[in-house]
Assembly symmetry: C2
Homo-oligomer: 470 residues x 2
């Protein structure tokens, strides 16, 4: 026993060392048990015992039918930010000033540490061009003429992918839009009127807040957990006290928190909105960018009553410039189609068909399979650099997908000041205040890691840390 | 004198005969005076006298520096419809039912006699494809990445063309949009709120009415002349009695009337909106499709105070499927850009750049030069066929551009019934009721002549006449 015990400890020690020093990176596949037996000249029982020990210690995890992988939790460098605590019953303040400043300053930044989009190096541009060229052939009249129904191919491909997470949609369930903001705008235009109340996460993507504000909607921000997203209890409390016209949630890897609602929470949310007849606008634009082994489900998967308006986009995963998004509006389809017709007639069909061709050829799945580990690694590099160069009190979110990081500095820290200092140096960040209609998150900021990680980016992030330390 | 007199009469008789029998078509150029001298063996004075006589009789017209042309007025087959007379101070009714029926039935029609768009045969598809392919080269990152400022080339080309009618805009004055409905929607979202009053022509394109209605706006319809458009006196009266948040006018070759406001009326309208601080949303989407010799000016040409939001589109002139439009919002630019950002972030940049490339190469001017005589001829064929096959009491508008015809039947005629009969035969028309929020135009309908004129179209129009006679 003594010697077996030593043997398995040798194995765990060696692998722990490899993981801690980064020789084995998070999500890397570990050698098979058979290979361990050969490499260390041990019995299968010893190999199994070693892996069980590593699993218990949180170094590795077992994926059924796939093998053992380095566990990502091993790389939590910093504490995660607090669960947010916005006022449930308060008047909306405004954050237009912050957003306008950001928009105005956008071109003054040479390195964008906050733009939630892919860098051009991460986009398969040549293949996309090929799919666009193909669209001039696959569409009758090369897509030059009105076609109110949009690209059928795109709708079919979007619908097909939903089978991966239990969505089971048909092409006729999909209404194409010019990106997911367009989709959300159509939903709010169709379902709300000025003076109505809508519910969002907090912090919430500033575009949604600006849109709601410009429509004259009252916005209630809900407490949100940096890992599990919208706090269901708070939602339950709110809808028991106040009439809500719609709920807008980024369920998977939200911007800015990066949170992902657990399946059980999604089910419960759908149950509640169905019971209370509240349309749920689910913005799932980051769902395909998961770092773990399977795509998280969407609320739409549990939507038996048609209460979920499932919105998505290719802006974060493939081609932001093409303006291709969609909404599967459930039972609100007629209303959404009417609003779309009134506001914009139809979307650009040739760019939609191009994405349809790209998907149909299998290139989209391949692209995502390449992209996900890159984004995961970018996230790791951001977190590591932040850990090393940012003030010790800074907490960092721990997203399991997407491209957004939420940084919470100590109370009293002024992130708007940091924003101003950073923009002077040509760096863009997003101050936390942009993500709320209340006077909060002044000590927070958002960074995005969708651009290529290189020494320029690393230097920029280090410089940002230096500015934050001043 | 006797013989000279006879000689010039011989010339006029011969040319009148050629014009009346269609050997010389409207807008055809007549032989030069020099050629007349040679052909008829007469003196220059006799030739001049003959042309002066033809001019006085309305057969031809002289265009400075260009020569003599067959006058179009010669081809007024029917009386024009009445000046419209909507109620100025009344509640808005609704026409959603009619529009919904039309949208639902759209695919049941095999021949669209009412779609205001170009048939594919009239679109230079190969050249457009080439311009799209070029855009993957002329845009950095092939236009796959966010580019909030849009296609600079498109903005430059749009601005350049305004010099042709005294617009004198710069590229920075132009905000690109996804078609002109998108542009109008942004304008109304930026400038109005639910409960506000806007002013439109009557009849008015149903898309604008549906949009306004869905926004909760009150719509005042103004009396409109089938030739000269919006009645300025009525506008003056209205704004003296009621607060108006915005005015939406299709100044050139409107849909459905085909009217074109005279330059003096445009000047006066701009003077009035400036004096009363009423934003003027000018939808100029048909302006380039003029049948006469020069492009009509836009109100924007007289806009010194920045009160005109000049909207346009390539949907009627080139590529409806690409969704390329714009607005030059004058002093409201910041508001419009903000609304655009909130609702849709940006337009599809690659299709916009494609149109920019198409214009830059000179292909757009060439295309328009080819297209205009075709549309003019289509209009002639429609009017001729209507004259021959429609009930004698039907009046027809006399557009000098665009692609829309307004038909007014005798009072009591039911155009909705005609619509139903026509759709059963696979023909689409638009009943007049769609173009108003009041209970009027029940005896009217709109036809469009943007599709290729051929024997199929001719048979369809004759069949429609037969149905109208029943």
């Amino acid at each position: 026993m003594e010697s077996t015990s030593l043997l398995y400890l040798q194995i765990t020690k060696s692998l722990k060392h490899q993981i801690e020093t980064g020789v084995l990176k998070e999500y890397d596949k570990l050698p098979s048990l058979r290979k361990i037996c050969i490499d260390y000249d041990v019995s299968m029982n010893t190999a199994i015992r070693a892996y069980e020990e590593l699993d218990r210690d949180g170094y590795i995890e077992s994926i059924p039918k796939s093998g053992y992988f380095v566990h990502r939790r091993n790389h939590r460098f910093r504490s995660i930010p607090s669960v947010t605590n916005p006022e449930l019953f308060t008047k909306n303040d405004n954050q237009e000033g912050v957003v306008t400043t950001m928009v105005k300053n956008f071109d003054n930044a040479t390195i964008h540490l906050s733009s939630a989009n892919l860098g051009p190096e991460l986009v398969p541009i040549k293949k996309v061009n090929k799919a666009l060229l193909a669209a001039t052939q696959t569409l009758s009249d090369s897509g030059t003429i009105y076609r109110r129904q949009g690209s059928l191919k795109l709708k079919i491909e979007i619908a097909k992918r939903t089978y991966g997470w239990g969505g089971n949609l048909k092409d006729s369930d999909i209404v194409p839009t010019s990106g997911s903001m367009d989709a959300i705008a159509f939903c709010l235009l169709a379902l709300t009127k000025a003076g109505d109340t809508i519910v969002v996460e907090s912090p919430c993507y500033f575009g949604i807040l600006r849109l709601a504000n410009s429509m004259g909607l009252m916005v209630v921000e809900l407490p949100t957990h940096p890992i599990t997203g919208l706090e269901i209890d708070a939602f339950r409390l709110l809808i028991s006290k106040r009439k809500v016209a719609a709920c807008v949630v980024v369920t998977n890897f939200s911007n800015p928190l990066g949170s992902c609602m657990p399946t059980e929470n999604k089910k419960e949310l759908v149950r509640l909105v169905t019971l209370h007849d509240i349309p749920l606008i689910e913005d799932d634009l980051y769902g395909d960018l998961y770092f773990e082994h399977t795509r998280p489900k969407s609320c739409k998967a549990f939507d038996e009553a048609g209460m979920v308006l499932w919105c998505g986009s290719f802006s974060k995963t493939l081609v932001s410039g093409y303006r291709v998004g969609w909404v599967a509006p459930g039972k609100f389809k007629d209303q959404i189609e009417r609003i779309k017709l009134y506001y914009t007639l139809q979307s650009s069909v040739i760019t939609h068909e191009a994405v349809g061709n790209f998907m149909e050829s299998g290139a989209y799945e391949k692209h995502l399979n390449t992209l996900r580990p890159i984004l995961r690694d970018n996230c790791y590099q951001f977190q590591k650099t932040i850990h090393e160069y940012f003030p010790a009190h800074a907490r960092v979110s721990q997203p399991l997908g997407g491209m957004n990081l939420w940084i919470e500095f100590a109370p009293g820290f002024n992130a708007l000041e940091l924003y101003n200092k950073a923009i002077e140096k040509g760096l863009s960040i997003t101050p936390g205040r942009a993500y709320t209609l209340q006077n909060q998150y002044l000590n927070c900021m958002k960074l995005s890691f969708g651009l290529k990680w290189d020494t320029k980016m690393e230097r920029a992030l280090k410089l940002l840390g230096k500015l934050a330390n001043e």
